[in-house]
Amino acid sequence: MKVVVKMIEALLKYNFLQNAVYSALMASVVCGIIGTIIVEKKLVMMSGGIAHTSFGGVGLGYYLNIEPIFGAMFFALLSSVVIVTIRRKTEVDSDTLIGIMWAMGMSLGILFISFMKGYPPDMSSYLFGDILTVTNLDIKVMLVLVIFVVIAITALFNQWKAYLFDEEFSYVRGLNTNFYEYFLFILIALTVIVLIRVTGIILIIALLTAPPAMARLFTYNFKKIIILAIIFGMIFSILGLWLSYLFNIPSGASIILLIGSTYFLMATIVQKVKT
């Protein structure tokens, strides 16, 4: 109990803790929505690829002395559009394509950093996330992106559902599936940007997949999976954040480990109960 009171006191006192909580909550919202979509559409590795490619943008940001998050956004958007276009125009296997872009993005990041004069910046907060260093600017960027993602999905919810379930039939019904495909990848790119500060580029995939996977244990309804995934994401990211603050461990790692191990525990229990 004492720990909780202490935590709340600290929360009220320190701006960086408030920002950490806001960003964890916002990250959970986009994770619940986009995470569910990429899990159902089997685009998890694709999203991982976009995330890693954005590292090139972080490096570019440092090199050009602009906010690295904007560099990352530029790279994430560019890579998502490139991936869709190449996927549509050629017969290159998406898997292969992701593998190449994944590593190229990371390499570009390292290259840009090596061009910098003087002592290289610490990249680990972008790679592994550091929710306790989220700035006011980060929060503003995240908020805009989260609102955009939420509106984009809710405004076209029935269309998204049809597109995700059966692209071909949606096309036959007159839906512009081309548009939905590009739009979906753009939303994935924006989600990656929201998550970079929270879990870091390397850990993003787990935060995108674990909450929907958990939610899927309890319902078969698409909308309910999203809502449950958001709730799970919020609970575990706040808990993880708390653990990270308490034991002074990296926030990305504590959130992911907590959420991942809870998923395996839940899955085992649900499996046992069902049989």
Binding site: E40, D166, E168, T219
Partner: protein
């Protein structure tokens, strides 16, 4: 003679310069119940996709009820192969059927109307799947899922129904069930079925076309029955010998003599 519902003239389609369909000519009339048979890779699915505007032809002309494909395909209901599905997708029977009533004109923050729900319910009643309304589609049998997909196609009030292998991997009972449903629907609409199911061909369909890159179609509207018997005679014989691949070889030769 009345105008054909679907008229295909001189159609050529190829994927990466490999020809899939060559010189297809066929006229399909109102309330026809046409089976398209042929070997795997014979272009059956491709032909359906051309009619639906999913695949664009290299050459040739298609008219649906006198319109070009862009306009005409709105009259077409499509029932794809169930094997192509992501059956684990979290969606239930009712939602799948409602999808048939969606279109891009529905705009932002679209909700299905009372009318949409009512239409879906009537279709589910008609296909005897109303009791499965809330079931996730992965938890359906093959026959049930097939009926759901037919229901989804019906939800858009089509005048023409295209089905791709609707009875593949179904047991005999579900197969008959599907054909009986189609037979009933045939009173109101034109139906094209791509199938391997040669046993059903004689008893249910009123015309038949064989497709293996080229189309062998013997049926005009008026002389269908004799043609069916003629075409049907050869494949059944060969199927019984367990050499389905020879079906078309033999058949092609036969058709050229016509």
């Amino acid at each position: 003679m009345e105008d054909p519902v679907i008229e295909i003239k001189n159609l050529y389609v190829s994927y990466n310069e490999i020809p899939v369909l060559e010189n297809i000519n066929i006229s399909i009339y109102k309330n026809q119940f046409l089976a398209i048979i042929g070997p795997n890779g014979g272009g059956k699915t491709t032909l359906l996709k051309v009619i639906l505007g999913i695949v664009s032809p290299n050459k040739g002309q298609i008219k649906i009820d006198g319109h070009n494909i862009d306009q005409g395909r709105k009259l077409v209901g499509y029932v794809p192969q169930i094997s192509d599905f992501n059956k684990s997708f979290p969606i239930n029977v009712q939602d799948v059927i409602l999808m048939g009533r969606l279109s891009d004109q529905k705009g932002l923050f679209h909700n299905y109307s009372k009318k949409d729900y009512l239409a879906a319910e009537n279709i589910m009643k008609q296909l005897d799947i109303l009791n499965l309304k809330n079931r996730q589609i992965g938890k359906l049998s093959g026959g049930q899922l097939q009926r759901v997909l037919i229901g989804r196609a019906l939800a858009s009030n089509p005048e023409i129904l295209l089905l791709d292998e609707p009875t593949a991997s179904l047991d005999a009972e579900s197969r008959n069930n599907i054909y009986n449903i189609l037979k009933e629907l045939n009173d109101e609409m034109t139906i094209l079925v791509v199938t391997h199911d040669l046993t059903a061909v004689s008893s249910y369909f009123d015309s038949i076309a064989c497709l293996n890159k080229n189309m062998h179609y013997h049926g005009g509207k008026n002389l269908l029955k004799e043609d069916v018997d003629q075409v049907y005679g050869c494949p059944v014989d060969l199927i019984a010998h367990g050499i389905p691949h020879r079906v078309l070889g033999e058949h092609e030769g036969g058709s050229k003599d016509d």
